[in-house]
Structure formats: structure tokens, C-alpha cells
């Protein structure tokens, strides 16, 4: 067998073509909006885009993990809400932010474990299992503060503590870029590494490609499935914390539809909802496309309805184009 150059091998990585196409699309969209309104190119706007896309990137990472095993997680948005409510409520009770975050993480991961067991061990259809936990987590979010949004965290926490929390997760910068993006980037790198370079990652692809063959090859399907739902719940919890830091309070309706934003980010970047293929690099680009569209449409003063329509069309077009290209290649 001939040794191929590392360059060529890079392009041969499965899903790389889709991911790079999404990146190219991202650049094109950004430039188009920039030509319409040059403010899009301003540094401030660029930094804002990075910060805002972090949320989509995080839910995208979680949903991509789940989708690569061929499943889906509908509970992401609700876990975001539960997390933001828990963190905010605990802080209004005077609990230190670090402890509050740990409690929220524990609760979020519990939902992940439940999802994992329902789907992995008891073979519930993932759509149903996570539909259930979606309602449960949202319900918990409501109960946390008796069906009301929480008060401001500044009301009880001392100003330095509250400021530090809010800066760390939202308002502060490091090397000129908002911390939110750094947090998302670190999480992205870690999960990118796990998915592409470790045994666990390979098991995730195998389960999504063929559950039976994976089991017969010695893969613990239940464990692998549970790990993906844990990743998803973890990412959703972090988003909840970020939203709390941004609003300095807990909003019960936070995270609405985020599970679908996660699907969109993944799918635009080439993650197959049928499982077995996709790269987190694509998800990164997908989250970027999503945010640049939202930002760009805002900057050209398109109304919310138009934004939704454009985004919906783009998601379908991205996948349709891929399918058409693939069919043409086949014939």
C-alpha cells in the first residue's frame, strides 16, 4: 500500500469534507452580511458573535455526541433551564457560586444518567425517553422557585462574589476575547479529543454505525450510550450557568428549543442524525453558521420571523445539498 501525504489523509478523514464546507459557508455568509452592513466586521461585533455562538457550540457538542450514536437528546433545553434556575436560586440563598454550580452539575448529570439507562439499558426509543426527561427537568426548573423566575443574584451575594461569577462566565475577557468563548473552546477541545482520539470515542462511532456488531466486538453499548447523554447533560448544564451569569438571575423559560439548536449545529456541520458519522469540527462550524446568520440578520434589521425562516431553510438546504451530492457520486 502506498503511503499518502498527511495533507491528503487530512481530507480523507470521514466527515472532513462536510466540516470544511460548513466553514467555507460560514466565511461566505459572514462576508455577505459584512458587505451589506460593515458594522458586522467590527471587532466588537466579532467578539459578540464568538460569545453568543458559544452557547450553540456547547449544546451542539452534546447533541452531536448523542446523534453520532444514532440517538437524540430532547432534554437539553430543559436541563439548561433547570441548571440556570438551580444555580440562581442557590445563589440567592447565599450559597457560594462554586457550590451552586456543583449542585447544578450533579442534577444535570443525573438527568444524563437517566437518559443513558433508559435508552442504553432498557432500549426505550430515545425520542420517548428524552421527551420524558425533557418535561421532568423543565418541571424541576419551575418548582425550584415556586413557578417564578428567581430574584437577582446581586440581592444576596456580596458584590465582589457576584461580579466575579458573572465576569468569569460572561462579561470578563481573557486575551481580548470573552471568557464564555474560552470556556466553550476548552470544552470543545476536550470532547474533540475524546471523540477522535480515544477508545470511548471510537466506541461511540461504532454504536452509531451498527449496535449489534459493536456489541459482538466487545463494546459496552449501555456504557457508551450513557457517556454520550452525560456529555450532553454536562454541556447543557454549563450553558445554564452561562445564562445565569448573563442575566444575573434564573429564567424558567431559558434554554427553550436549545436541543434543536444543537441538532441544527451538528447537522449543518455534517453530523448524521442516523448515527455513525460526523466530526465535532463540523459542529463548531455549524454553531458558527447559526450565530453569524442570527447576528447578520439582526444587523440588517430583519425581523425575528424572517430570521427563523432563513435559518430553517438553511438547515434543510445544508443536508439536502449533501444528499444530492452523494447521490450524484453514486450514479
Amino acid at each position: 500500500m502506498k503511503k499518502r501525504s498527511s495533507w491528503k489523509r487530512f481530507f480523507e478523514i470521514k466527515g472532513m469534507r462536510n466540516a470544511l464546507t460548513a466553514f467555507a459557508g460560514l466565511v461566505v455568509i459572514y462576508i455577505v452580511f459584512g458587505i451589506i452592513n460593515t458594522k458586522v466586521f467590527s471587532l466588537m461585533n466579532f467578539l459578540n458573535v464568538l460569545r453568543s455562538m458559544s452557547k450553540y457550540l456547547l449544546v451542539g457538542i452534546g447533541q452531536s455526541y448523542v446523534m453520532i450514536t444514532g440517538n437524540i437528546d430532547l432534554s437539553i433545553g430543559s436541563v439548561v433551564a433547570m441548571s440556570t434556575m438551580l444555580v440562581a436560586k442557590l445563589m440567592t440563598m447565599g450559597v457560594h457560586p462554586a457550590l451552586a454550580i456543583l449542585v447544578a452539575l450533579a442534577c444535570g448529570l443525573l438527568i444524563g444518567v437517566i437518559n443513558g439507562f433508559l435508552v442504553g439499558k432498557f432500549k426505550l426509543p430515545p425520542f420517548i425517553a428524552t421527551l420524558g426527561t425533557m418535561f421532568v427537568a423543565r418541571g424541576v426548573g419551575y418548582i425550584v422557585n415556586n413557578n417564578r423566575n428567581t430574584d437577582s443574584i446581586n440581592s444576596t451575594l456580596s458584590k465582589p462574589v457576584a461580579d466575579h461569577f458573572q465576569n468569569l462566565f460572561y462579561y470578563g475577557k481573557f486575551l481580548g476575547i470573552y471568557n464564555t468563548f474560552w470556556i466553550a473552546l476548552i470544552i470543545f477541545i476536550v470532547f474533540f479529543f475524546i471523540l477522535s482520539k480515544t477508545r470511548t470515542g471510537r466506541h461511540i462511532y461504532a454504536v452509531g454505525s451498527n449496535v449489534d456488531a459493536a456489541r459482538l466486538a466487545g463494546v459496552d453499548v449501555n456504557k457508551t450510550t450513557t457517556i454520550t447523554y452525560l456529555v450532553s447533560a454536562f454541556c447543557a448544564t454549563v450553558v445554564g450557568v452561562i445564562l445565569c451569569a448573563q442575566a444575573s438571575m434564573g429564567n424558567m423559560e431559558a434554554g427553550n428549543m436549545y436541543e434543536m439548536y444543537g441538532v441544527a449545529a451538528g447537522v449543518i456541520g455534517g453530523v448524521s442524525p442516523l448515527g455513525g458519522s460526523g466530526l465535532l469540527l463540523g459542529t463548531f462550524a455549524g454553531a458558527g453558521v447559526w450565530q453569524v446568520l442570527e447576528n447578520g440578520l439582526n444587523m440588517v434589521h430583519a425581523q425575528v420571523g424572517i430570521q427563523r425562516i432563513v435559518i430553517g431553510v438553511i438547515v434543510v438546504l445544508a443536508v439536502l445539498a449533501d444528499i444530492l451530492l452523494r447521490n450524484r457520486k453514486k450514479n
Binding site: 500500500m1 477508545r199 471510537r202 449489534d212 456488531a213 466487545g218 463494546v219 459496552d220
Partner: protein, 499 residues
């Protein structure tokens, strides 16, 4: 008797990068069974897909019933009288027999489906085949042999005069094969033309009138079946002489490696006891549904079991899931490679690496791509897997090469016991011999080898010792010397005989 009903001449068909068919010709006459032979990847299926309108030819001419046909689609092919009985059943498993038979051409009155009428017509065709099938039965609940009858009945109901059968006997028991041959002979008498594709050359003398042989997308030869010797046929298919269809090496039987005691797992695995020794290959024979597959799965920890003790090199081991078996050095190359053996969307490299990630990842779990590539390159070379490179998806390979990947992924690690379930199903003569050589190599290395197979010549040709199963039990044990087809069959049906 001898009017030509299908004439395909100089057919060419290319796919990106591959010339699948290169100047192929084929002639089918009414009232004959034409055996279309060739190794996997010879282009038989592509040619048949052109005849049935799935693919369009690039060049060449095609005549059906003397009428020139330029391009076909599946519907116009059906209207022209062509029907294919697929190797893998193409039916909606949750619909009933009649619903499947009328799929796409349902009978209506206004907008209302005429179920009663359709059931009645379906019953008529099923009765014609003497198939004991209710039109209202759900297809999923039927055994494979009956599903096949439904496909044949469907073909009849479309008034097909040209029947293409792709590996129709690969999943049938010998009695079911008898019935199928009876039906094929009836079709022949009625003047229909049958194109019969099979890798089981031993059944051809009973059914084939003429043969057409293809190799590597090219037409090789055709003629009356009786004019060919079996060796000639194989030589034409493979392109070289295969001296020994069942190569055999003799080893001294050594220590006991693996013992199974009192294995029970459901209805099809009942009190199984046996041992495997160094330097021998043990073959499991039996009819369809005798419990061979279930036995291997129960040992491997895939399916739950009620009882069973395993001893490896004299020490008792526990197997609760496949990982336990793999860790202990017991591996299984399963029967259904597309369902259980391969992740078809993953590359060959990833498939070979999958059960060996403990080696590639080490303690940290971080995969070393150099180790992975080295392992994969070794497997590709050792098994001479034909592939452009190791990164192509597993489903782009031919059946024989897919099977080599399924087997190969287990051979790169040190195992003590290797179980094969139907190791050569649906693969061609040349690839079969390569698999047998592989089994022999394992045997020489002192690894305990067992395999389950429903092809009796294979069991008798390769195994040093034969265990026959019937209805979930081991009903007979034969050495290679004492084994005969009759004796195996006697044990394989012993349970039914008692009743």
C-alpha cells in the same frame, strides 16, 4: 423450446472508477434454467440489475421477447415480464403477505382498498406453489423459506416470465431446497426462463440446463451444463486452477483447550457439552434452526443463558458479556456479517481496530494511530483483503472481502478459541479456500477452532471432528473418517425421527 426470450449483447456499465461490466453477453431461452456463475464481484448482480431496470446500461443491446429495449426502469421491466427474487428479502416486514404482494399495485374500488379480493388472489398464487401460507399473516412472523415463497408468488402474480433468482437456497434447509427445485422445474415446464445465481455449485447438476460464466466484469463462456465438468466451471470462474477445494493440514491433537459444560440458553440450546483441543477443527453440522448459531452466541455472552460452565486451559472462566469472552481469548466471527459482523459505515481500518482498541489504546485509552495502522496493514496483508486503501467504508467491499475483515479483526490479537459461524456463506470459491487456509493456520498455531456450517461438504472437508446438532441438542459426534453425508443427516434429523 428454444426461442430466445432475453438477449443481452455487448453490455458495458461503468461506475466511477470501476468498469463493472465489460462487453458481457447473455442469452436466456424459454423453458430453461440458466445458471449465471462467477465469483463475488464478477458482475452478475450488476447485469441482473440492468435486466430488472435498476441500472441503465452504458452501451450494448438488449432484447426481451424479441423486442429491442433501450432503457428500462423497475416498472417497465416488471411489465416486460422480468422479476427478481432477491437474496436478501425485500419486503415490508410489518405488512401482511397479501399487502406485500400487492405493494404499489393495490386494488381499489373508489378510494377503498379491496382487501378481501387481494387476499383471495394472493391465496390463489400461494396455493399454486403449495405454500402453506395465509395471505393475512404478517411477513415478520414467517421463516425465511416462506418469505421466499411469498416473493416467488409475488413474481407469479405480476405474470413474470423471466425469473431471476439470486442465491435462493442460501438460507434454506435441504427439504425446503427440494420444494424450491420442484417449483423451478414446474416453471421450466411452463416455458418460463429462469436465471439462477448460486455459489453452491453442488446443486447445479440437479437444476441447471445451461451455464454462463463471468469473471471480473467480463463474459467468459457459456454452454450446455452437461458439456462442462465441475473443475472446468471452477477454473473459468476463478481464472486459475483450484486444486483442492478443501485444503487440509494434519496436526497432532494436543491438550484440551476449552470445555463447555451443561450450556442451556432458551429452546435452541439445551444441555450442550463439548471440548475443543489444540490442533483440531471442530465442525458443527445440523439443519437450519438446530441451534448452532445460538450455541456460539450463548458461549460468547451475547444472549442470556440459564446455565453453563466454561473451562479454558483447565481453569473455569466467567463470561457474562462479549467483552469477558474477548478478554479471556475467545472470539466469534458471527453469521450475519452485515448485521452482526461489520459497521458498514465505518472504514476497514476502524472495523479491524474495533475489538482491539484495548491494545491500540493501552491503559490511557488514547488511540495510537501508528499502532492502529500497523495492525490494519498486517490484517490486510495476511488475509490479502482486496481494497484500494484502508480508509474506504466496509460496505464498498465485495462479500468475500467483507468476510475477511470480519475474520481478520479477530486474528490480529492472540486468541485461544476462535468460533466461526457460517464462515463462507455467500462468498465465492476462491475466497472460501482462503478462509479455509486461515482456519488451518490457526489450527497449526495450537488455537482451538470451531465452526458452524450448513454446507455439509464443507463440514466434512474441513473439520477433524464433527458434532451434529438437532433441535438444540448435540445428537451425534463423528470423526472425519466415519463421517458420511447420510450419517450426518441421520443425526441432524434424529429428533424429528423420534417423534
Amino acid at each position: 423450446m428454444s426461442d430466445v426470450i432475453v438477449r443481452m449483447e455487448h453490455i458495458c456499465k461503468s461506475f466511477p472508477g470501476v468498469k463493472a461490466l465489460d462487453d458481457v453477453s447473455l442469452e436466456l431461452r424459454s423453458g430453461e434454467v440458466l445458471a449465471l456463475l462467477g465469483e463475488n464481484g464478477a458482475g452478475k448482480s450488476t447485469l441482473m440489475k440492468i435486466l430488472s431496470g435498476v441500472y441503465t446500461k452504458d452501451s450494448g443491446t438488449m432484447e426481451i421477447f424479441g423486442k429491442q429495449v433501450e432503457s428500462l426502469n423497475p416498472n417497465s421491466a416488471r411489465d416486460a415480464g422480468v422479476a427478481i427474487i432477491h437474496q436478501e428479502m425485500n419486503m415490508c416486514n410489518d405488512l401482511t403477505v397479501a399487502e406485500n404482494m400487492f405493494l404499489g399495485r393495490e386494488l381499489y374500488k373508489g378510494v377503498v382498498l379491496q382487501n378481501a379480493q387481494m387476499n383471495e388472489i394472493a391465496r390463489k398464487y400461494l396455493d399454486e406453489l403449495d405454500a402453506d401460507i395465509e395471505p393475512t399473516e404478517v411477513v415478520r412472523n414467517l421463516p425465511v423459506s416462506k418469505q421466499q415463497m411469498v416473493e416467488i408468488a409475488t413474481a407469479l402474480s405480476t405474470n413474470a416470465k423471466i425469473l431471476v433468482m439470486d442465491e435462493p437456497t442460501s438460507a434454506l434447509t435441504s427439504r425446503e431446497i427440494e420444494n424450491l427445485f420442484r417449483i423451478i422445474r414446474k416453471f421450466r415446464e411452463e416455458g418460463k426462463g429462469i436465471i439462477y445465481i448460486s455459489h453452491r455449485l453442488e446443486e447445479l447438476p440437479r437444476i441447471a440446463d445451461r451455464v454462463t460464466i463471468m469473471r471480473d466484469g467480463k463474459y467468459i463462456t457459456s454452454g450446455k451444463f452437461s458439456d462442462f465438468s465441475m473443475d472446468e466451471i471452477i477454473r473459468n470462474m476463478v481464472g486459475r486452477e483450484i486444486k483442492d477445494k478443501f485444503p487440509r493440514v494434519t496436526c497432532k491433537r494436543g491438550r484440551k483447550v476449552f470445555e463447555v459444560r451443561h450450556l442451556n440458553a432458551g429452546r435452541q440450546v439445551r444441555d450442550i457439552n463439548f471440548s475443543l483441543y489444540e490442533g483440531e477443527i471442530v465442525g458443527f453440522a445440523g439443519l437450519m434452526g438446530a441451534g448452532r448459531t445460538e450455541t456460539t452466541r450463548a458461549i460468547f455472552g451475547v444472549d442470556p443463558r440459564e446455565s453453563g460452565e466454561f473451562f479454558l486451559d483447565g481453569k473455569q472462566i466467567r463470561i457474562r458479556k462479549p467483552e469477558d469472552a474477548i478478554k479471556a481469548g475467545i472470539v466469534l466471527a458471527p453469521e450475519d456479517r452485515r448485521k452482526d459482523g461489520l459497521c458498514v459505515k465505518l472504514s476497514i481500518r476502524e472495523n479491524i481496530a474495533l475489538p482491539n482498541l484495548d491494545i491500540i489504546g493501552g491503559k490511557s485509552g488514547i488511540l495510537s494511530s501508528s499502532k492502529e495502522e500497523e495492525m490494519c496493514a498486517r490484517a490486510i496483508q495476511d488475509l490479502s483483503i482486496k481494497t484500494p486503501n484502508e480508509n474506504v467504508n466496509a460496505d464498498t467491499l465485495s462479500g468475500g472481502n467483507q468476510q475477511k475483515v470480519v475474520v481478520g479483526k479477530w486474528l490480529v490479537r492472540d486468541s485461544r478459541v476462535v468460533m466461526f459461524d457460517e464462515p463462507t456463506r455467500g462468498i465465492d470459491v476462491g475466497a472460501k479456500v482462503e478462509i479455509y487456509n486461515l482456519m488451518n493456520k490457526l489450527k497449526q498455531q495450537g488455537i482451538a477452532v470451531m465452526f458452524a456450517s450448513s454446507e455439509m461438504p464443507e463440514v466434512m472437508g474441513i473439520a477433524d471432528r464433527i458434532l451434529v446438532m438437532c433441535d438444540g441438542q448435540i445428537t451425534g459426534e463423528l470423526s472425519r473418517e466415519e463421517a458420511t453425508q447420510d450419517l450426518i443427516l441421520k443425526y441432524a434429523t434424529s429428533f424429528q425421527a423420534k417423534q
